[in-house]
């Protein structure tokens, strides 16, 4: 095993697994699950092994397209600290989720299809992580999109799931539109798409700030789509239609983080363009706050977590925008992956217990029925809400500190969002686990099998402790702002926010029978979905119908109908000259003679 071959094995073993499951998976459920887990575990093991290697051999790359110096696109590997850490996150969490899935999906239809999809996803995600150039990243970016589409639409017979998958794909495509243009712009300026080449070429481009800013913002559009930033965030809550492991793995822990990872990957370029970073910061900050607001009024346990994810991704993007290195955002990505994945797994566990009921107002009192799940949920909850000394506390506060320093408004906004975070997650906690059982299912809920609990318990550990300095320093080299520069009020404010949020939630929802608060603006997601719905149906749909009509009745009319009908009519009219009367013929004949004579005799 060498550092040269290991990444390739990591990358392609899930693909091999996916293909094998596709081909022979239908013979045995166990076999498919086993193949998937085996491939993920191999990746996990090799990732840890790679992480331990300090010396990295130069990486191979395969030629995918080659037009000489003009344009050469390779499939190659970047193996630096960033990708190693990301590999760890992805493979480890994947392995856990895969194991969890064997339990979660045990009674579901499309078992093999599900594992094939998961493996395909893993392959795609690893491709993004390992990509050494923009095009390769784009390729896997798209593949991640399609695997997400497949997995969200797992229950394709359900209208909502089918719609959600479609929406996810299309919204991602809109992001990819910008991404592709960004790649084109960067390439046309530098003649290369390789990250290494770009990094060496960009400093020479400082003279064209606008161009580069536009390019970077366009690339960032890819992040906006994939990491569900405002205004392209709408797909993520809907994607909760997929099976919960999918939500956990793709739509919380890894795939949505790909956008942030990509920004981290091109961070050296972003450093050259402060304007772009400012835009990124604003998008992240606003997303982080607004998504938190929306989360406060959701009733679906997974949707709350989904908005929470959006909000947390907002933090990461904000981190990219304000922090001096990419490590801070990556640190939050890392911790978030652990605790959000955990939270989703716990939610999944609750759902299984509740027979796929997701409205939390039908739950209640589950603390006794599913105690292990509750413990895990608490671990995740604390980390998410930034309870001091949990992982989330370290990573989130670091970003907020930098934000306050760089763009104070966004910093304070993010800090306020932290309070909202505490509020909505505690709200969910209390409603689900406390109070009386509010439905039949809730009364007969029961704890889940070991295959689901073990991964949760394993994840609970990093969720709580991954942020501790002695652990984090193994993974990240973080830069902390000068302690004096940070406003003194900030930390007390953050503590206040945490306790305030949690306390308020306890006050309102501990033993609440139904929601005592109703803010339609938040419940309806700031009406953004409605605006989109209106736009897609009325503007785009209407517009395209008008165009379709125009194609049939204007273009076709002008280009085809009118000339052909005109020709026909001319023919129809002309044949009336052929009137059948000899005298008329003789007259025309004579007229022809006179006409010809006129032509011949005129000067």
């Amino acid at each position: 095993m060498s550092t040269q071959t290991a990444p390739w094995i990591i990358l392609f073993s899930p693909l091999a697994a996916a293909v094998l499951i596709f081909l022979i998976g239908r013979f045995s459920k166990t076999l498919s699950a086993g193949l998937a887990i085996l491939s993920a575990a191999t990746g996990c093991f090799l990732s840890w092994w790679l992480f331990r290697q300090t010396e990295v051999a130069p990486q191979l790359s395969l030629e995918w397209l080659n037009f000489g110096p003009e344009l050469t696109i390779t499939i190659g590997i970047t193996l630096d600290h960033l990708s190693k850490v990301m590999l760890l996150v992805v493979t480890t969490i994947s392995t856990l989720v895969f194991i969890y899935s064997t339990g979660y999906m045990r009674d579901e239809e499309g078992y093999t299809r599900f594992f094939a999809g998961l493996s395909l996803f893993l392959f795609s995600m690893l491709g993004i992580v390992l990509a050494d150039n923009f095009v390769m990243m784009f390729i896997f970016w798209e593949l991640v999109g399609v695997s997400s589409y497949i997995l969200i639409g797992h229950y394709y017979s359900k209208d909502s799931a089918a719609d959600a998958g479609k929406q996810a794909f299309i919204v991602n495509r809109i992001g990819d539109f910008g991404f592709m243009l960004g790649i084109l712009l960067l390439w046309s300026a530098t003649g290369t798409v390789a990250f290494s080449g770009l990094l060496s070429a960009i400093p020479g481009f400082e003279g064209a700030p606008v161009y580069l800013t536009v390019a970077c913002v366009l690339v960032f559009m890819g992040t906006v789509g994939k990491s569900a930033q405002m205004p392209l965030h709408v797909w993520l809550p809907n994607s909760m239609e997929g099976p919960t492991p999918v939500s956990s793995l793709l739509h919380a822990a890894t795939m949505v983080a790909a956008g942030v990872y990509m920004l981290a990957r091109i961070f050296p370029i972003l450093e050259v363009v402060p304007d772009a970073r400012e835009i990124i910061a604003w998008v992240g900050g606003i997303t982080c706050f607004c998504a938190a607001l929306m989360a406060t009024q959701q009733n679906d346990i997974k949707r709350i977590l989904a908005y929470s994810t959006i909000s947390q991704l907002g933090y990461m993007v904000l981190g990219i925008g304000v922090a001096p290195t990419s490590s801070e955002a990556m640190f939050h990505l890392f911790t978030h992956a652990c605790f959000k994945c955990l939270l989703f797994l716990a939610a999944g566990s609750v759902m299984i217990a509740m027979h796929h009921e997701t409205d939390m107002w039908h739950m209640g009192g589950l603390r006794k029925k599913t105690p292990v799940t509750m413990i895990c949920f608490i671990a995740g909850m604390l980390a998410l809400s930034g309870c001091p000394f949990t992982s989330g506390y370290f990573s989130k506060d670091l970003i907020i500190e930098w934000a306050v320093l760089k763009i104070p408004f966004l910093g304070w906004l993010a800090a306020a969002a932290a309070g909202l975070t505490a509020f909505y997650i505690f709200r969910e906690f209390f409603v689900v686990f406390f109070g009386k059982a509010r439905s039949e299912h809730a009364e007969h809920a029961h704890e889940q099998p070991v295959s689901m609990l073990v991964p949760m318990l394993i994840l609970a550990v990093p969720a709580l402790f991954a942020g501790l300095p002695m652990i984090q320093e193994h993974f990240f080299t973080l830069s902390h702002p000068d302690a004096h520069a940070v406003p003194h009020l900030l930390h007390p404010f953050l503590y206040a926010m945490f306790f305030g949020g949690a306390g308020l939630a306890a006050l309102l929802y501990f033993k609440a029978e139904k929601d005592p608060v109703s803010i339609p603006l938040f419940a309806n997601r700031l009406y953004i979905d409605d605006v989109y719905f209106w736009f897609v149906n009325k503007i785009q749909g209407g517009g395209s119908i008008v165009l379709s009509w125009a194609d049939r009745w204007v273009v076709d009319l002008v280009i085809v109908q009118v000339p052909s009908k005109l020709t026909w009519a001319c023919g129809f009219a002309l044949r009336f000259l052929q009137i059948g009367s000899i005298q008329a013929y003789a007259f025309f004949f004579g007229a022809g003679v006179v006409g010809l004579l006129y032509i011949m005799l005129s000067k």
Binding site: F587, G590, V593, L597, L601
Partner: protein
């Protein structure tokens, strides 16, 4: 003298031609046509084309006209009833004929060589029957044969076409 003769016969000819075109009774038209042919034969004479003049009278006035009259009688054609005169036809016909005449006059008027008088023949006593005959049988032998075939075909055709329908 020649001019006078020319004008007399020409005007006669044209007048009868007018009669052909405008008389309502087919028999009158046919009679006018005979007179036109005869007048034309006279004009031929003023051009020293005696043989042609004779042929004109024999063939046209003799044979063709008999045929015409015979058919008119056979079909028992009467004068046209007062069918409505179609102004459009008359206008159109008039325009075409007028245009044609204008074209001819333009050509004639613009062609100065036409205004010479008749040149004298080198041998006024030359027998034009011999001239035509020699030319016809020596130089124009092949067309003459063709005309023969043509007459044969016409004969066959007439026989075929006038076969009586047996009821």
């Amino acid at each position: 003298m020649q001019l006078a003769l020319f004008w007399i016969f020409s005007i006669l000819m044209l007048a009868f031609a007018l009669g052909v075109v405008f008389l309502r009774n087919p028999v009158s038209s046919a009679m006018s046509l005979v007179m036109t042919f005869v007048a034309l034969a006279a004009v031929f004479v003023t051009l020293d084309a005696f043989f042609i003049a004779v042929v004109q009278v024999l063939v046209y006035a003799g044979a063709v006209m008999v045929l015409f009259l015979f058919i008119i009688m056979l079909l028992d054609l009467r004068a046209e009833k007062h069918r409505k005169v179609r102004p459009s036809a008359w206008l159109g016909g008039g325009l075409v004929v007028g245009g044609f005449m204008a074209a001819i006059s333009q050509v004639i008027a613009g062609w100065s060589a036409l205004h010479q008088t008749k040149p004298e023949l080198s041998d006024p006593s030359f027998n034009d029957v011999a001239g035509v005959g020699f030319t016809l049988f020596r130089d124009f032998n092949l067309p003459f044969q063709i005309i023969g075939v043509l007459l044969l075909v016409a004969t066959v055709g007439v026989v075929l076409l006038s076969r009586k329908e047996l009821k």
